[in-house]
């Protein structure tokens, strides 16, 4: 490749290191953005570690039995969304690895480039609804540290970071799913590295909302460099696909209680 074209390309690409055509603005919170993306990515990788799946339709009692022991055990209650016209529950959005593989084989995943918006985005009705639900669920004295209607540039992905009165950080994220999520340990497709995460079997509340608990030491959220934590996570999803993720360095039962309380007041977007 030592000809005129070779020289032209060498010269043009040298200038490409400085030319404005190829430049992009940086990210205001680059490390935080990577951490948050890591959390979201866990649900998108193909699964390697199989997780048992037992759907308990309308299983309020079974849901209680599935919870870890603790004094702050959550009692199931009605509220929030009901099952849809076909009697489906939110569990249809949370699939085992094998079910997820079967689903992806039959349903192309949406293009990741179609729902892109600038971040931070201005507040919207969805973020306001989430703020109300979260405020109603958390103990008095919780303060919002920051919020974003489109975290990381994902349309409709509202997220709120808070601190409880004792300083405990909490993050809550809500989005409308257009594709199921797989309940599995994340595997990095490039490195085959398996994250140490564990999913409970999905359960459903009496109203048809499904939830699952994720624990592990994978990267979680952070308010800043000094305030970062890993698991547990609680995922809830309504029959019509409203997915809410809670995470805070507290007992799983406590987190589940907040999630359930918020879900009870949520009426969909």
């Amino acid at each position: 490749m030592t000809d005129v074209l070779d020289d032209e390309l060498t010269s043009a690409f040298e200038r490409a290191h400085e030319a404005p055509q190829w430049a992009m603005p940086g990210w205001p919170d680059s490390a935080g953005r990577v951490r948050r993306a890591a959390t979201r990515a866990r649900t998108r990788y193909a699964a390697a570690a199989a997780v048992g799946l037992t759907l308990v339709a309308g299983g309020a009692l079974a849901a209680v039995h599935a919870l870890p022991s603790g004094e702050d055990r959550v009692l199931p209650s009605n509220g929030g969304n009901s099952t849809d016209a076909n009697g489906a529950t939110g569990a249809k959005w949370l699939l085992s690895p094998s079910d997820f593989d079967a689903y992806t084989a039959a349903h192309p995943s949406p293009s990741p480039s179609t729902d892109r918006v600038p971040s931070p985005a201005p507040s919207d009705a969805q973020l306001a609804q989430l703020q109300r639900d979260v405020s109603a669920a958390l103990p008095a004295g919780a303060t919002t540290v920051r919020s974003d209607a489109a975290d990381g540039g994902v349309r409709g992905d509202a997220i709120i970071w808070l601190r409880l009165a004792d300083g405990t950080p909490v993050a809550v994220e809500r989005t409308r799913l257009d594709y199921p999520r797989v309940l599995s340990t994340a595997v990095d497709s490039a490195t085959e590295e398996v994250a140490p995460e564990h999913f409970t079997d999905p359960q459903t509340w009496a109203d048809g909302t499904a939830y699952t608990i994720v624990t592990g030491q994978a990267f979680g959220y952070g308010l800043d460099r000094q305030t970062q934590w890993s698991g547990p996570f609680v995922w809830t999803v309504t029959p019509d696909g409203w997915f809410t993720m809670w995470t805070a360095p507290v007992a799983s039962d406590t987190l589940l209680g907040w999630a359930q309380s918020a879900d009870a007041s949520f009426v969909g977007g």
Partner: protein, 167 residues
């Protein structure tokens, strides 16, 4: 992890620029860098501290090619080339605009070979390792790319990219 955060802060401008050169699409580049950094973060403890940039570039290239294969199979391409501003007067175009339009004609694998060779300054062996292919594949992809670029850059023909070449 503070070391990783410092790396991200320092390397981000160059990674984003590499992403735009590699894909020709700022949105795609943005996604690509984010995805590559997530993968890098998970492997940070085992990455050669002297070569983190090379590692991230390798992940970006392999991810870009994987995405392209997946998207080509599953969806129509929603975007074209966004590096060249179509509102700019033709007279204001410079060699970088010409380079952008020429690269847009190349399929992603050929584009990756050219970008790694000329932008990143990699040898054929390094390109093969980065792309996870044989050196012979690099040679053949490079030869095809050069034939196309010679035709595009040295003639005035319309270089509208074929559908399969869109990033």
């Amino acid at each position: 992890m503070e070391e990783f955060e410092d790396f991200v802060a320092g390397a981000l401008p160059e990674l984003l620029r590499f992403g735009v050169v590699l894909t020709g699409d700022r949105h795609r580049a943005d996604d690509l860098v984010q995805t590559a950094l997530v993968k890098t973060m998970r492997r940070w403890s085992s990455i050669d501290r002297g070569q983190p940039m090379a590692y991230v570039r390798r992940v970006m290239v392999t991810t870009q090619l994987t995405w392209w294969r997946r998207l080509r199979r599953e969806t129509a391409m929603p975007e074209g080339v966004d590096v060249v501003d179509p509102s700019r007067p033709e007279a204001a175009y410079d060699d970088q605009d010409e380079l952008a339009r020429a690269l847009a004609v190349l399929p992603p694998r050929q584009r990756a070979v050219v970008v790694l060779r000329y932008y990143a300054g990699y040898s054929e062996a390094e390109i093969a390792e980065t792309m996870g292919c044989a050196p012979g594949t690099v040679k053949s992809q490079s030869a095809k790319a050069m034939r196309t670029l010679r035709r595009v850059l040295h003639t005035d023909e319309d270089v509208r990219p074929p559908a399969e070449a869109l990033p």
